[in-house]
Symmetry: C2
Subunit: 455 residues, 2 copies
């Protein structure tokens, strides 16, 4: 089943701003003409030909689920017809069996929001526990195919964890650059375990990015920050897999957390490409939710009509989206406009309450993921989402990425001493700290009865 | 495809010691005649009939992978022909899409151990990040089918996390009993997120179990500790799925961490049942590895020929197997003997080194999982495992279950101040703590070059 005239040459890089089409990307993945981001386009796709059969493609992808080929078992490479081609994939593709993530109904959240048809696609169920793996398998494989011995990124969180795992798997060295003094040991445990070289630089985050860009120009080190367009391609597969799980019947809304905006861009790109290939016949509205303390994209759209983005100093407990200058904001703006989606911002207390509500449905996620439910509530109030519509929330990271947040929330310590004290009362009913009791059956029974009464 | 004369009545409970066959289990899942554990047996299986076709069963299970039925998408319920029947499964089965865990090659560990054909089955890739989910889906579904409103366990770790998730998913309340003062907040973050009622009792762990057993006799609360035989049944599916992944060609060895010994028992039970049903034609040797500081089963076998087990005060950093009085030791002894497996014990430093070596292969696991690789090294040295043999390690929990261990190891703090200082040198070469540098390209390049030289 081929959908391209020549799969080997089907994918081309193009600048998202000036349209320049470089033959190959520079080491920093920036347009040499204007400095903007690059993206993959597929001019060779022959979806207009009568020979092209979307049903055959769907059937091919489904049947790969019964295969023992590692490429087919990956929830990313199973959809390789829509990805840049990696020559000799058996040799070069680095896979940890990423993707294949569950789609869950959220019955309690559905009742709470009045949206009966509500699902969550949990990208936190990836091997390193965040959605980053789906993009990393593609970008790391590209590095391997190009025979790089070193890969690198500036990140203290999910990206470095994912990069270090795929680098180790592909027998490559990995380098993590982080600002000195802003190290989060918990977040780094994964990079350390997978053997990354971690350098704390006496500078800020932008300083790390600057050194990294110099490094990749001077040394054969492959850049795996989110400007790498291979990562966006891999992250597309979450949307393809979602459509397959919904029997190719798109929901009315897909709601995505907005941080660096690479994920929103990827999911939107997949939706547009699937429509082009007649895999789906209509587009869901893709909406993007940011934390109030890290809302440069929200302000760009609401205040400046998307004409510019003012970087800010980001501050939110949802660390995975604590980003003040999102690299992919122009790509995200394009999919927002193309799908007719909305932007929203939510408060810290709204995030914490939404996370607890998702947890009460038996689904654990990190705080950044919970902005989707908090945003849905606001989109319901504004009337943008209607009760009869089908909604899918994209959860991006696992609960275990940030256990401290959960513990502090339930102990009532999360908003202690902050100006949010009044708002915090709203979340109080969702908290259930441990109770200390004598080793006495009657005391336990009394606690059980009290919990039953309060439920 | 039926393998029983009557699937509705195929599963029967039987006491593992006296053979008594109660019609239904008591609330504490103990034999009313002798007090020992119960297990499920399947007297209705008709594997001797010419009408029974193992190949058809394998094909049925494989094809379920392409189904959208939630039961088929579960890596547990996909194999429901080998599980106790739950009436009205569409209504009562609580699933989080557990199972479906990856089987990874371990190329570096293979070189280090001289076992070329070495795989790890990573049960830490389950929804709540440990193998407990595979058993919990079956036991929690049974509770739901029996219309319990409350489920309970005594545990501070992986069991309570899994129980709380499935209870929330099934709209049941969950109760966690833990000894006061021995609370590990990190481990409890999942139970809190999923809304469990957590009671810290002023007693020790045995005291908690005693109160729990009283509670389930007096109140309609369903016991989800590991004595619950439904949990063992669900955990069997890891072995069935493994055989499918290996094209039903059993490895020579399966190596399992030994804590409470329910998991070893389940995997061994599955192997014996698969041979009975002619799904496999020979048995792998199932070996069980304990931490030296929590080695009651190792001592039982080595010192007492399995005739008795002396409980001990357990002490190991591999908290998931820090168990001094394992509930399922008789079941585990039976499968050890039936498969011709071996027991081994490993030191704290051996565990930490093995965990880092698995990490260097791009696979993150919790410390308890790493005893398998550490044990394999000893079994190689003793000659029990030969270089040409095929070996599968069962990894039971995800790296993110215990990030502190990883951080302390790489910073060199794990064995600081302990008597293990000399041994710790052995693990030193695997450590790579972050380095602090000026924001200078030359400094970063020097660090990269140094890392390259040392690799």
């Amino acid at each position: 089943m081929s959908i391209a005239q020549n799969t080997e040459t089907a994918a081309r890089l193009r600048c998202i701003f000036c349209g320049a089409a470089p033959d190959c990307a520079g080491q920093d993945f920036r347009c040499t003409a204007c400095g903007d981001l690059l993206e993959f386009v597929f001019p060779g796709w022959i979806s207009d030909s009568p020979a092209f059969d979307p049903a055959a493609l769907k059937s091919l992808w489904l049947n790969r689920r019964t295969s023992r080929n590692p490429l087919d078992q990956s929830g990313v490479w199973r959809f390789r017809e829509l990805l840049p081609h990696i020559p000799n994939p058996e040799e070069h593709v680095i896979t940890l069996r990423e993707g294949n993530t569950p789609l869950y109904r959220l019955p309690r959240c559905a009742r709470a929001t009045g949206v009966e048809n509500l699902h969550a696609k949990h990208q936190g169920m990836n091997p390193t526990a965040s959605f980053k793996d789906t993009g990393m398998t593609v970008a790391a494989s590209s590095a391997h195919q190009q025979e790089f011995r070193w890969v690198a990124c500036a990140s203290t969180g999910n990206t470095s964890a994912s990069m270090a795992a795929y680098a180790a798997r592909g027998n490559m060295h990995s380098l993590v650059l982080i600002p000195d003094g802003k190290i989060s040991w918990g977040k780094l445990s994964q990079s350390l375990d997978y053997g990354a070289l971690t350098c704390q630089l006496r500078t800020d985050f932008d300083g790390c990015v600057r050194i990294l860009n110099e490094l990749v120009r001077q040394r054969p080190v492959y850049l795996l920050n989110s400007v790498n367009p291979y990562r966006i391609e891999g992250q597309k597969t979450a949307a393809i897999e979602l459509m397959e799980q919904l029997a190719w019947e798109p929901p009315d809304h897909i709601i995505v957390p907005g941080g660096n905006l690479g994920n929103s861009s990827a999911i939107g790109k997949a939706l547009l490409e699937m429509r082009e290939l007649k895999l789906i016949t209509r587009l869901p509205k893709l909406s993007i939710i940011q934390a109030h303390g890290a809302n440069p994209f929200y302000r760009s759209v609401r205040e400046f009509g998307g004409k510019k983005l003012e970087p800010m100093t980001a501050d939110t407990l949802a660390t995975a989206i604590r980003i003040g200058n999102p690299a992919s904001w122009k790509k995200a703006l394009r999919v927002l406009q193309a799908t007719g989606g909305e932007v929203e911002e939510v408060s810290e207390v709204e995030i914490a309450a939404a996370k607890a509500e998702i947890g009460a449905d038996g689904i654990g996620c990190e705080p950044a993921s919970a902005v989707t439910l908090a945003g849905l509530k606001k989109l319901r109030r504004s009337g943008f989402v209607k009760s009869g519509e089908a909604v899918v929330l994209i959860l991006t990271g696992h609960l275990l990425k940030d256990p401290d947040f959960t513990i502090k929330f339930h102990r009532g310590d999360l908003f202690a001493g902050t100006g949010d004290a009044a708002e915090a009362v709203q979340a109080k009913s969702l908290q259930h700290a441990p109770v200390v009791l004598d080793a006495d059956l009657g005391a336990v029974i009394a606690a059980v009865d009290a919990a039953e009464r309060n439920s």
